[in-house]
């Protein structure tokens, strides 16, 4: 059909800066420069990959992503192109497969991810990869989330023709303080090498040897000891690199993954919490190109042991008399007693120390509590440190931005409260989510000046030892809530496990206390979850206008502009 009078699809696409690509018989449009593998995956034509990772340089070494490619015929001089009824040029299919990761789409390109050529290519690649693989899946930590296992099941032949002796390589090699290497399981995708070289900038990993003796290694005397080393374990598509912390702890298929955020610094890296029943087994980074790309620091990743530790406070504790020992109590009795005692405290002589580690919802309720009690002095403990130039923020608190939005406009300086305690001007203190003996600059002797100390904490610390009332709250893994990171992005915490012991979600403790103190706020009384507080807060804070728990989503939403950036994300966006 002659289409000289109508607009051809190629012109139509070009006008929008796109290209027409036929994938498995259907035409789609993609931006120029899109990798064939990405293009196929976005339209549901899955392309298996070992070495390709969107955040790393292309290696093209695994050959797993072989697909069939077709292009329009090259025209003879003077020959006019022909078009089919839809306006596309006919495709001539190449006799050999191409790799989908290192090639980009072009106009009128055809891709087939099914059919004999690709099926045979995938089967062949897997046969080679498995020929020297130890097949120790029953004791391999990667089993269940292993690409080699998945692809063998999807595209492999099911039987082996390999009768020769397998190449022996290094097993259980200590690569660094947190990572172990099994060279025999490795498929030599070089993801770990590229990550350490290009993202971290410490070229400690490399491939040595040749052919079937080729193996990943580091040089003697140099260790894979970067604070980002465990990302290589996430990147490893097979069980070659394993985390010393997680290995042999739990089969991954028993674990439940809950999307949440890291609370160790102001970046708020997106994470998945992997739990089974009431125990947390590991944290892994979750992709968010605005926050943490695909990575997270080891120090934050491994900081979860306190959740299931002995130090957790399982019951509310009270001290009934001055000098009397603390004893465990029940929630009803303890909250009632606290309310009575707080009402006796003179508001002008009472102060609150809050934590920028608390969620927005908890901070909002702290503000309501302060209002209920008429307390004017509220301060938080700041944790200014140094950024590592990657993902760790200079701000050690995960929710400083939220704390400033909710509390700080009324807050007094922490020094004022501390000197007040020392001088005896302040006689009662509520230490909420913060151990005041640690970073607030108060000694145990200073605290003994106080007539009354109430604390909200999830684990035993210097403050809980001295407190008259200890209300056991929960850790980040046991609660819902939102935090605003240093860049002004509001992000969600999701509950992975139920509160440990008789501890209770912090927001509900604060809410019950406010009600017991005589608040008649019906909205508060009707609250079922911290998630509903987002809607209430959205009415009050301009930055949160229109937000609901659902609309924040798993990726969060930028709501405040703070001018602060995350160095690693800056670099990633600059390199695009």
């Amino acid at each position: 059909m002659s289409t000289t009078s109508t607009i051809l699809p190629k012109d139509e696409a070009a006008a929008q800066g796109e290209l027409n690509v036929q994938i498995n018989g259907t035409w789609h449009r993609f931006a120029p420069g899109t990798r064939i593998a990405d293009a196929c995956n976005t339209v549901g034509a899955h392309v298996p990959c070992f070495c390709y990772h969107p955040k790393l340089a292309i290696a093209g070494s695994c050959r797993m992503c072989l697909v069939e490619q077709g292009m329009p015929p090259r025209l003879a001089p003077g020959q006019e192109p022909s078009y089919d009824a839809q306006g596309y040029q006919p495709l001539q299919w190449m006799p050999r497969a191409i790799i989908a990761c290192a090639n980009t789409v072009s106009e009128n390109m055809g891709i087939r991810t099914t059919g004999n050529i690709t099926a045979e290519a995938r089967r062949g690649v897997l046969e080679f990869l498995l020929s020297n693989h130890p097949l120790d899946c029953p004791i391999c930590d990667q089993a269940g989330e292993c690409k080699l296992q998945e692809y063998s099941s999807d595209y492999g032949s099911g039987t082996s023709r390999f009768q020769e002796e397998k190449t022996k390589k290094g097993k259980n090699i200590d690569l660094g303080p947190r990572v172990n290497l099994d060279q025999e399981r490795c498929v030599l995708c070089h993801r770990c090498v590229r990550f350490m070289r290009d993202i971290v900038g410490e070229e400690v990993l490399g491939a040595v040897g040749r052919g079937s003796n080729c193996a990943i290694s580091c040089y003697p005397g140099l260790k894979l000891d970067s604070n980002y080393s465990l990302n290589t374990v996430d990147l490893c598509p097979v069980g070659a690199l394993t985390s010393k912390d997680f290995r042999f702890k739990m089969r991954v298929w028993f674990l439940k993954s809950t999307p949440s955020i890291d609370v160790n610094c102001g970046t708020g890296s997106n994470i998945s919490i992997w739990s089974r029943e009431q125990e947390i087994y590991r944290l892994t980074p979750r992709q968010n190109d605005q926050v943490n790309s695909c990575w997270m620091p080891d120090s934050h990743r491994l900081n979860y042991k306190y959740i299931n530790a002995e130090e957790r406070i399982l019951n509310p504790t009270v001290r009934t008399d001055i000098g009397a020992p603390q004893r465990e109590s029940t929630w009803d009795a303890c909250l009632k007693l606290s309310a009575e005692q707080l009402q006796k405290c003179e508001a002008s002589k009472t102060a609150i120390i809050v934590s920028a580690r608390m969620t927005n919802e908890e901070l909002y309720l702290v503000r309501a509590l302060a209002k209920q009690l008429g307390i004017k002095e509220i301060a938080s403990v700041s944790r200014k440190g140094k950024s590592d130039g990657m993902l760790i923020s200079a701000d050690g608190n995960p929710n400083t931005t939220g704390e400033q939005m909710i509390i700080a406009e009324k807050a007094t300086a922490l020094e004022g409260i501390c000197s007040g305690i020392k001088s005896g001007r302040i006689t009662a203190l509520l230490a909420l989510g913060e151990d005041i003996t640690a970073e607030a600059g108060l000694s145990a002797d200073n605290i003994k000046n106080l007539d009354y100390l109430l604390t909200l904490a999830h684990s035993k610390n210097g403050t809980t030892e001295l407190a008259d009332v200890t209300l056991p709250g929960v850790t980040f893994a046991e609660k819902y809530g939102t935090m605003i990171n240093v860049t002004g992005r509001i992000q969600r915490l999701n509950q992975a496990i139920e509160p440990i012991g008789n501890s209770r979600d912090d927001w509900s403790i604060l809410r019950d206390l406010i009600i017991l103190l005589g608040s008649e706020d019906e909205k508060l009384a009707a609250l079922k979850s911290a998630r509903d507080l987002v809607t209430i807060m959205a009415d009050e804070f301009a930055a949160m206008a229109g937000l609901t728990w659902g609309s924040i989503g798993n990726d969060g939403k930028a709501i405040i502009s703070t001018g602060v950036t995350i160095p690693l994300i800056e670099r990633e966006q600059a390199s695009k």
Partner: protein, 191 residues
Amino acid sequence: MSDTSNPIEALAAHHDSPGEPFYPKFATSPKLIKEAKKLVALYPEGKAQSAVLPIIHLVQKQFGFISDESQQWIAEMCKSSVIHVAGVVSFYPGIHRKCPGKNHVRVCRTLSCALGGGEEMFALLCDKMGIDTKSMSDDEPVGISADGIWSIEAVECLANCGFGPNVMVNDKLYSQVGEAKIDEIIAAHSN
């Protein structure tokens, strides 16, 4: 490679060789640094890593083999990492991690030389030079005589296929090597 040996430590391990007295111990000198810098300058700015292979050849020519110290130095000269250099060194069998003998003999074992009797020449050469063929394996491709005068290695091609069997001693190529020629070759390099 057994389960117990550490393949990482092996990358820097020193292998004793009777050939060591015939080569200087690796040490940097202003001359060596100058030569290396000249090689680096052959490549565009920021591509110093490309000079890894030429500098490896430079070091091997002078010191006989690539030691742990020289790998470190090469990495430094090429603004590369020592693991990258170790990767290159371990990739090519022609790059030695163990000191060869005073005279290094390469015997071609590829098709036309093998058909012409290269394999027999290899055995004969070993015998005459006092090298134990059993000491050689895939992991130890170079055999060295006890006195350190001779070392031998089977190579894939010496680019002279029309005139096999080919044998190369140091940088000198001998073609159509037969039993009689072997004695000549040994005599020519014995001093």
